[in-house]
Amino acid sequence: MKKKLSIIFLLIIFSIQIYNVIAIQRFPKPEFESGHTQPPTLTPDPRSQALDILDVFVLVAALSIVSWLIIKKRSRKGVFWMSIFAVLYFGFFREGCVCSVGSLQNVTLALFNPEYNIPLTVIAFFILPLVYTLFFGRTFCAGVCPLGAIQDIFALHPISIKSWLEKVLGVIPFIYLGLAVLYSATGTDFIVCRYDPFIGFFRFEGTFMMFVIGGLLLLIGVFISRPYCRFLCPYGALLNLISRFSKKHITITPAECINCRLCEDSCPFEAINKPVILKHKEEKSIASRRFVLLGIIIPLLILIGGFTGSQFHENLAIVNSKVRLAKELLNNTNYGETDQEAFEITAFNSSNQSKEDLYNEAASITHQFYIGGWILGGFIGLVFGLTLLSLSVFRYRKDYTPNKGTCLSCTRCVDYCPVKVNE
């Protein structure tokens, strides 16, 4: 019922956007000449630093409360209401920016470009969820991230997907992470922000395709819960890695698991590890042979990935505006424009930079992409290798446990567990 009410509430908020569609431009400017003076154009003041600090405090408070609700109170209801708060505050009020997901690009850019002065708020938004994840698992994903929260509200009819498919699709966020780092490191683009699917909803404005992508992901999310978090989010990939080492992760049962299997299908994210019965344990010799094989395959995958990535460095680099400009000038293709000079070329011609300087700069950037291509390809190869490893490695489990990497700490499974601890 509450979920339905929340959806109705969100739909009402989204419907306000229709206003933008029917809004009518007015022209031309007033021209009264009888003493009327045009008021000066006012530019809004930058956001107060105090509000930025407030955001950090709210983030810390939200992370602390949600972690407490998850680890101590084990309250699904509490997490749900924190999700609503996250959507309202970090989503609609803060208009989705700065967000932790996008902050990884700012941090990368700051690491690779000393001239970039990264705001402390952005660093805090990047670091704090990582720190909390290291201690408590992905509690940030559970009820603080507005991108996750908005999808969670739409997870109405979750359907299970095959674990192999989950694994295969789960590789995408790591590729996205690698690309996001590459493009931020080279100062090319912040692709995570460019393709943020829900920012349009939070700001009540955006391109048509932005709304289509966001709408489609919410639609998919009705059946395949949180598709962005699971199969796209690059920050989630980072949290996935860190959460594996979390000190105090949520458990399904507060005491000993009685293997009642009630929680087995409770997770909409396929993040529950089922017990593995001892008799299925494979022989040591087979396991050893597999490890040796994987020991060869994984470095090979890294090498192949790196080599492949390096071969595509020109394709990767072409989206860099300077590389593209150099290419257009070199080939005299004018960005495909036939009726007029492309504005990039007009702007370049009006600058004092020589073509040779531009070509040198573009060559330098392309070389960065060559190195980046090696690293990106190697990283993707490693991810494939580790995915292969995780699929083939045998782990003995006697209890139902959350997968610390993919578990979003939503606490849905907790409600299914009949084991209670008397306090």
Binding site: F27, I161, Y195, I213, F223, P227, F231
Partner: protein, 320 residues
């Protein structure tokens, strides 16, 4: 089976989203040559020919420098004024009279007794039918910009764009009251007039119609100054008015419909008494781009006279 189908479709959609993102990033141009803030009015200037039910039947050269205003009296005689000169024509375009008015007249009205009312910016000049000055009414406020005058048997109404108010005078020029002034106590919203176009007329039912151009609305007042009714139509399309302040001029057809002229998108249209769009008299392609201040008048045969200040012509439009 149903679940498999849903999963399959969801995954296809997910992959489509990912493929679109990748394609958009690498193959999309990521650039837009056009200025997103530029007003693109070209499409709006193209009007379906079927909606234009009037045709230009005649052009009259008024021989008035910088013609600004046009009026037609009860005998269908045409009056045009501008810089220093007022000229009178018969319906065929033959000049009947022309006299010096010594300065620019911004609007003109001819009463049923053929007295000529001229706006000299911040005062009203009343002239006899032969052109001699009868009276001069000073407006109390030095910010006055009188843009339109109409008369009834008992009153004279003058629209002051500078003070955003309509003055009601008796026939001797005594100010009776101000109509439509913004009043926070009574909640009267007032007129929004960003540019010096503020027109009024007396409707078929003897009530005062005033254009509130900033609101794209027509407001109907009784002679006590009470707002009786109003309608507004804001639209870039033919159905309404757009820009900071439109329509700039209005006139009345015998069936009570309004003829309107607009600037920005230079259009002459007809709206029914309740505001609904009826037809187009002349579209933007009939005028030089940037033309504004297209004053209009209607004769007893519902022919529409448009004073084109750029071409310095009286252009007559008749229903086809």
């Amino acid at each position: 089976m149903k679940q498999k189908l849903i999963i399959g479709l969801s995954l296809i959609l997910l992959l489509a989203v990912i493929i679109f993102m990748v394609r958009d990033f690498y193959k999309g141009s990521n650039r837009n040559q056009s200025n997103p803030y530029e007003y693109k009015l070209d499409n709006l200037k193209n009007i379906d020919p079927e909606l234009i039910t009037y045709a230009e039947s005649k052009q009259i050269k008024p021989n008035v420098e910088n013609p600004l205003a046009i009026a037609i009296d009860s005998k269908d005689q045409i009056y045009v004024c501008g810089e220093n000169i007022l000229t009178k024509f018969d319906t065929t375009g033959n000049q009947l009279l022309s006299f010096d008015i010594h300065s620019t007249a911004y609007c003109i009205h001819v009463s049923t007794t053929e007295e000529i009312y001229l706006s000299k910016l911040d005062r009203i000049e009343v002239r006899n039918p032969n052109g001699t000055v009868k009276e001069l009414w000073e407006i109390i406020n030095d910010r006055a910009v009188i843009t339109s005058i109409v008369t009834t048997e008992d009153f004279v109404f003058a629209a002051d764009a500078g003070n955003k108010v309509v003055y009601q005078y008796d026939l001797k020029g005594n100010l009776i009251k101000e109509i439509g002034k913004k009043d926070t106590l009574t909640g009267a919203p007032g007129f929004i007039i960003p540019s010096p176009y503020f027109d009024l007329l007396i409707g078929t039912q003897g009530k005062l119609w005033v254009v509130n151009p900033g609101r794209h609305s027509f407001e109907n007042y009784d002679f006590s100054g009470n707002l009786v009714s109003s309608w507004d139509r804001t639209s870039m399309q033919l159905e309404g008015f757009s820009g900071c302040c439109n329509p700039t001029h209005i006139a009345l057809l015998s069936d009570g419909s309004f003829v309107t002229s607009e600037k920005g998108l230079e259009r002459i249209k007809i709206h029914s008494p309740n505001g609904d769009f009826k037809t187009v008299v002349a579209g933007p392609k009939s005028f030089v781009e940037g033309t504004k201040g297209l004053d209009i008048a209607v004769d007893s045969k519902d022919r529409i006279y448009v004073l084109d200040p750029v071409k310095e012509l009286i252009r007559v439009f008749e229903k086809q």
